[in-house]
């Protein structure tokens, strides 16, 4: 058989990991990467990687001298910088007390791999490739009872054309701790494969904002595995706007009673962008709550995908699982796909989902027109309201403006301007 480009990529990973022992986590992960997911796989049917698999790429060898881009509108006072997928202490701030960042040892890395492998992310390409090629798994820990006041900001940058980057993070919030985390993906690379394992111990609370704003040629296949313990709380919001192809896939396991999850997201897509928000929420114990609001605005020839599964196990009585997704198409050539899915094995539950795809409401547009607002302005007002309302619900007050501005920047290119 002819050597394909796809095989080249697999081989380059193999070559790299071959230098390690067979029991090393990199070797194990590498063995599990057989191929890119095929469109015959149910969760990749709507987000096909055909063109990616035809690209000539290889894992990056991080340049530890490379400087950052000096991102201007920093939010947090504490910055953690990743470049080329590698943590750069020299460019990062000193961490507040109670917060610790360390490199996982090989044996710890193996445990990390085992935890991810127990989840439904075990076959995700980012799981296997990033664990094979990451410079190192970075663990961010917030100690017991520590409530971190400042925002912590992680910035992912770097990468090169024809190369893939592999930042791997392990975030652990110990009992009764809390953290506010902002992550920004600004890669300049062909492929970014961020992998994260998040563990929230009893009563821990995490506010998380992720902004995907990679370069217009970047593929970003973000994979996130979250475990929630008793009475823990995750409030997560993702804004997807960058890249040629961005898919954020999150699997959240509610393993402790009375844990609470908000898993919200917005995608704003234009030109030929493909944006995909895939989530799976597993209610495995009683008395947990999950809420999900997803909104998409699509222009140009873009495609949006929302796949959201909520599974309620037989023991997970009194589960409250709600999900609502809405997408607005602004151009004739854009398309939106939604697959909200309920899989329920317990009877005492309140579960509901709703999904709508359509255009802006005619009545609302007319109402604004009748008050003298021109059509394009009216559209803009309604689209912004569509997002603002949702951002206000999902994001901490102090960050409304920042997040909304980020959204607005992306909107500017897709709101249709009628000739005046």
């Amino acid at each position: 058989m002819q050597h394909s480009i796809k095989d080249d990529y697999i081989n380059s990973i193999k070559n790299y990991t071959n230098q390690f022992e067979v029991t090393n986590f990199r070797r194990i992960a590498c063995n599990d990467f057989k191929n890119w997911p095929s469109p015959r796989e149910e969760t990749w049917r709507l987000s096909r990687l055909g063109s990616l698999s035809r690209k000539k790429i290889k894992p990056i060898n991080p340049n530890l001298k490379k400087n950052n881009n000096n991102t201007t509108n920093l939010i947090g006072s504490t910055i953690i910088q990743f470049i080329d997928g590698a943590y750069r202490e020299d460019l990062s701030s000193k961490l507040p007390s109670g917060v610790n960042l360390s490199v996982l040892s090989d044996s710890e890395s193996l445990k990390y791999l085992q935890k991810i492998k127990k989840s439904n992310l075990s076959d995700h390409p980012s799981t296997n490739v990033s664990l094979s090629c990451t410079p190192s798994i970075m663990k961010l820990t917030v100690s017991k009872d520590i409530k971190v006041k400042d925002f912590l900001e992680i910035i992912y940058e770097g990468g090169e054309d024809s190369q893939s980057v592999h930042p791997v993070l392990y975030l652990e919030l110990e009992e009764n701790s809390s953290l506010f985390l902002i992550e920004r993906f600004n890669h300049l690379t062909s492929l970014a494969m961020p992998l994260q394992l998040i563990e929230l111990r009893n009563k821990a609370s995490l506010n998380s904002i992720k902004i995907f704003n990679d370069h217009e040629k970047t593929y970003n296949l973000s994979a996130n595995c979250v475990y929630l313990s008793k009475e823990s709380y995750l409030n997560s919001f993702s804004l997807i706007k960058g890249g040629i192809f961005t898919r954020s896939e999150t699997h959240a396991y509610l393993n402790g009673c009375n844990s609470k999850l908000n898993l919200n997201g917005v995608y704003i897509s234009s030109d030929n962008q493909h944006h995909d928000l895939t989530t799976a929420i597993y209610h495995d114990v009683p008395d947990c709550t999950s809420k999900q609001i997803v909104r998409g605005v699509l222009g140009g020839k873009s495609t949006g995908v929302f796949q959201g599964k909520v599974r309620v196990a037989q023991d997970a009585q009194r589960t409250d699982g709600q999900q609502m997704s809405r997408a607005i198409l602004l151009s004739d050539t854009a398309s939106a796909n939604a697959k909200p899915e309920l899989e329920i094995y317990a009877d005492d539950v309140i579960c509901a989902h709703g999904a709508t795809v359509g255009e802006l409401d005619d009545d609302q547009l007319f109402y604004l027109n009748s008050r003298g607002v021109p059509m394009d302005k009216a559209r803009e007002i309604l689209i912004k309201a569509f997002l603002e309302d949702m951002i206000n619900q999902s994001v901490d007050n102090s960050l409304h403006d920042f997040v909304f501005k980020e959204a607005e920047l992306a909107l500017s290119s897709i709101i249709p301007k009628e000739t005046l």
């Binding site: 899915e341 309920l342 329920i344 579960c351 709508t356």
Partner: protein, 483 residues
């Protein structure tokens, strides 16, 4: 419909000698076990089919050989050995019973609850010949009346002989032979089914029902139905029977194709109550059905209504392809799964024409250890400007051993179209149960009442004569699921 002695005698006179010979002849005419090109030829030959149909069957058979069984549905069952099935034994004679005394008492109990007249009970259980005679006469008068209007309603095997052009034009036009594994299988080996043609401007004056058709009796396994309704015409078609039918066939892979021209309307109602297997999931029918309607004409309308309470496994997605501008597709479904039943059912609405509209109302009820999945796709294609879909999917759980799943797929490619999907899952509320109990209803009555209320939006779409029995049926299907 008790036949008068006169009718019985008359029919006996005409048919008895023939019937006798027919039965003996049959014994010799069983195809060997399994499926091969030879069997397909055998079936086609038996039915004296024209060459084009044989070729069509063979093409389907070859296609089938290359295909895999679908595995995406949330159903589990042991692999079917397709070489262990008789593909031609029709018209098969059920073992004749002499009286209702020989019939399974459980079956009789159900008939009694449904209020089915003795005559019909006998026919359903395979006793007696009176009813069959009766039915022959009914069917005959019935067909004459329809013929006066220009409506053709006959077995599809007859249509192949008498209206080959119509059959050739439309068979496989909605569901191509390679559409899916079971449709390909059906195309290769279908034995019989119904054919309906309603010409321009004719509103069919009565509900057409397979119920009246005696030749239908043994063609259930690989049934093929084709309904064509021309411009401005209308038909309402009822399929199935509310009483559980005795049936030895494990696998049912039927295909139903509907074609509606400009301003035509087809209403297709099904009450499916095949044997669901016992409490532990032993036995029961595998019901793998492909049903699709083509709204070819402008302003055409196809409406599917189904009440699915039977079968061990249901795999069924009656769909609409909305090609004609302003055409309308509807899907109203109640699926009840109790004990070890598994149902994966739903619909596809493919919007191709402008301003097309579709409505999906699905009510799933799970009890016992059953798994019940709604799976539906709504696709709005590029040129389907101004199209609308509304989907409402509700699931009800009775007991904590069962599952209810909702898997909708929405693909939208047109900004001026709108798709709305809503789904809820809940259990029967204790408040509602207690309220009914306090009024003196026992818990089974109360459950049946509440569940029927839950299904009301769908049940009201059924033709009256079906609705009452279907309502009772839901109650019966859920027996033993409460308390």
């Amino acid at each position: 419909m008790v036949a008068t002695q006169e009718t019985i005698d008359k029919v006996k006179e005409v048919t008895s000698s023939y019937k006798y010979g027919f039965v003996t002849k049959l014994e010799a005419e069983k195809a060997p076990l399994g499926l091969s090109e030879e069997i397909v030829k055998f079936i086609s030959n038996k039915k004296k089919e024209p060459k084009w149909l044989l070729d069509w069957r063979l093409k389907a058979y070859k296609k089938w050989l290359t295909m895999d069984e679908p595995n995406w549905a949330m159903v589990n069952f042991p692999k079917i050995n397709f070489q262990d099935i008789y593909y031609y034994s029709a018209p098969k004679t059920k073992p004749k019973l002499n009286s209702l005394d020989e019939v399974d008492p459980e079956l009789l109990k159900t008939y009694e609850k449904l209020g089915i007249p003795i005559k019909e009970q006998e026919a359903l259980a395979g006793v007696a010949v009176d009813y069959v005679f009766d039915s022959v006469s009914v069917a005959t008068t019935f067909r004459e009346k329809l013929a006066d209007e220009g409506i053709i309603f006959c077995p599809i095997s007859e249509a192949v002989q008498n209206y080959p052009d119509l059959v050739k034009k439309y068979i496989g036009s909605v569901i191509p032979i390679g559409d899916n594994y079971y449709a390909a299988l059906n195309s290769a080996v279908f034995t019989d089914g119904s054919f309906v043609f309603v010409p321009k401007g004719v509103k069919c004056p009565m509900e057409l029902s397979t119920y009246f058709r005696i030749n239908e009796q043994n063609s259930g396994q690989f049934e093929r139905t084709l309904i064509i309704v021309e411009d401005n015409a209308y038909v309402s078609y009822l399929e199935g029977c509310t009483a559980p039918q005795r049936d030895e066939n494990q696998l049912h892979a039927a295909v139903v194709e509907l074609v509606a021209m400009d301003d035509a309307e087809i209403k297709y109602s099904t009450v499916q109550n095949w044997y669901p297997g016992d409490k532990d999931g032993k036995g029961g029918i595998y019901n793998f059905v492909t049903k699709r309607g083509n709204c070819l004409g402008k302003r055409s309308k196809i409406s599917w209504t189904q009440v699915e309470t039977g079968s061990a496994i249901t795999w069924k997605y009656p769909s609409c392809v909305l090609k004609g501008d302003n055409s309308v597709g509807e899907f109203y479904s109640v699926a009840v799964a109790n004990n070890a039943q598994q149902a994966d059912t739903g619909t596809k609405m493919i919007h191709i024409g402008k301003n097309t509209k579709s409505t999906i109302i699905s009510k799933g009820i799970s009890a016992g250890k059953a798994q019940n999945t709604y799976r539906g796709q709504v696709q709005i294609q590029k040129n389907a400007m101004g199209s609308r879909n509304f989907t409402q999917c509700d699931s009800l759980l009775i007991g904590d051993q069962c599952g209810a799943h909702t898997v909708p797929y929405i693909n939208q490619h047109t900004p001026s179209a709108r798709v709305e999907h809503e789904a809820t899952t809940s259990k029967i509320s204790e408040d509602q149960l207690f309220y009914c109990l306090q009024r003196g209803l026992d818990s089974e009555q109360a459950t049946s009442l509440i569940v029927n209320g839950f299904c009301k939006e769908v049940m009201k779409e059924l033709p009256m004569e079906f609705a009452v029995e279907a309502q009772k049926l839901i109650g019966i299907s859920l027996e033993g699921s409460v308390g």
